[in-house]
Amino acid sequence: MQRIKERIIEITLALAAVITILTTIGIIWVLFSQTIDFFSEVSILDFLTDTQWTPLFADKHFGILPLVAGTFLTTFIAILVALPVGLTIAVYLNEYAPKSFRKIIKPLLEILAAVPTVVYGFFALSVVTPFLQMLIPGMSGFNALSAGIVMGIMIIPLITSLSEDALFAVPKALREASYGMGSTRLQTAFKVMVPAASSGIIVSVILGISRAVGETMIVAIAAGQQPRLTLNPLVPIETITTYIVQVSTGDVAHGSLEYRTIFAAGMALFVFTFILNNISHWVKKKFQEKYE
């Protein structure tokens, strides 16, 4: 009797775990089935090469490139902000800062990570954009620069905490050997510690990129809703995620072509983040230096 009960419990627990697999299957199935329907009406070649994205207009074009360009532009700006600042903070906290300082700073930085993204969007639109407009006259009220910078600020804690973990995992002996050779803290940090922790730092950057690519509210609020194939950070653009939000807030009938476009866009987004996440797993596995 006891054994049967134990068996039932185990199966129940396993079923709960299997839900996560069903989630993945569900995501792939939903994206695939709708995207296939989408491509029965729009040619894949147009989707990948057309330079205009105007599914909601009378003259319809279905080229994903402008949305991809917008996504990469904001992501690039975000990483440009987050990588130097985030890595510097990680190195500073790990190599320079006194322990007591670290203890106060880390939870404060964690607060940055806990703020809902819609709040960051408000910050970008009502503080950062007006500030940048003072510096760069003629900048549009919606632009990739402001959204990208704020997204970078949002990603700083992610890069800092993952890089710091990687730096912390480097054996103390390496640092001490470096000091023993007469190196300064700076030399030790960038010639010994950072190279030794490089796989963890690369992982943090890739996850940061993945996070920026999938980020929605900041860009939906501050970057505009105008798909445009450009690398100019001062004009309104549209990212893949923003397009999905734009269609979702409007009135689009189930089963229409416009409805399917958000799944095709979602598919593109899913593919990008899936590739990035798998590169990060691969880097983690392959290049993790083993110290015994």
């Binding site: 500073y92 906290l93 703020v115 999938g214 939906a220 995620t241 979602g266």
Partner: protein, 285 residues
């Protein structure tokens, strides 16, 4: 200047650069919160909390969105907590070396990297259309539950892992079955860690906007949802809606609603941090 001096100079320069970068992060946080408090604080009063949305900014309130957020939080907790804990127990205690466990493991770490808006597309089709829930609270909570499930599973596993083996072995030695060991020893011993992870996951769910917009949560709700099948709005969507309007009055409303939202997330995070510290101090193996 000899090279040792130069190196020391560079070393010190980087130190101040490091302090500068850290301060930049904190200054942003300060500007950020200061700005929102300045813009939004004057607008917060009892009316703001108990009024319905309106076309006139000065009369608009957040009642339906606030109640919607509470509903979503409770429903998401009810759905995701048992599932998350059960899945974590299975992975940590039962299926350790099985093929299924291996697949599950890779799968969960992949799911954690899927953008939240994709979960919205999943919820829109599966819960909204195929299961016929539409844009109801239940559809929203189910979607968010799937979104935070990986977070709960990972943190629960960490908590279970932290319980020393000797406790488990002692329980087995006394003749307890596997489930008895788990329910009487492991779960109580790891309770602090588990609850911390759950609260952090829920605070994430409270701040989510994009997936709920995609499943069709409303921007304008002139009623208070009273059952899980009702349509709804939540605070982040109300904020997004107000930000998108051109009138200055709505921007102030958005700032006020942000104060309330931040209050909710910070309180949740504060509780989590408190529990974490307390637990770390109390439990010493």
């Amino acid at each position: 200047m000899n090279s040792a001096k130069k190196n020391r100079l560079k070393d010190n320069a980087f130190k101040y650069f490091g302090i500068g970068c850290t301060m930049f992060g904190l200054a942003m946080l300060a500007v950020f919160i200061g700005n929102i408090l300045m813009e939004g604080f004057t607008r917060i009063d009892w009316d703001f909390i108990t009024n319905f949305p309106s076309r006139i900014p000065a009369k608009a309130g957040i009642l339906p969105a606030l109640i919607g957020t509470l509903w979503i939080m409770v429903l998401t907790a009810i759905i995701s907590i048992p599932l998350g804990i059960a899945a974590a127990i299975y992975l940590e205690e039962y299926g350790k070396k099985s093929k299924l466990a291996n697949v599950l493991e890779i799968n969960i770490s992949n799911l954690a990297g899927v953008p939240s808006i994709i979960y919205g597309l999943l919820g829109l089709e599966i819960f909204g259309r195929i299961m016929g829930m539409g844009g109801s609270l239940l559809a929203g909570a189910s979607t968010l539950s799937l979104l935070i499930l990986p977070i709960i599973i990972v943190s629960t596993r960490e908590a279970l892992k932290a319980v020393p083996k000797s406790i488990k072995e002692a329980s087995f030695a006394l003749g307890a079955s596997k489930w008895q060991t788990i329910s009487y020893q492991l779960l109580p011993a790891s309770f602090g860690g588990i609850i911390t992870g759950i609260i952090l996951a829920l605070s994430r769910a409270v701040g989510e906007t994009a997936p709920l917009i995609v499943i069709g949560a409303l921007a304008y709700v002139p009623f208070v949802p009273t059952s899980p099948t009702d349509e709804f709005s939540v605070l982040p969507i109300q904020i997004f809606n107000w930000i998108s309007r051109p009138q200055k009055g709505f921007a102030i409303n958005a700032a006020s609603a942000i104060i309330i939202l931040l209050l909710v997330t910070f309180i949740l995070n504060g509780i989590a941090m408190y529990l974490r510290n307390r637990w770390q101090k109390k439990v010493k193996w």
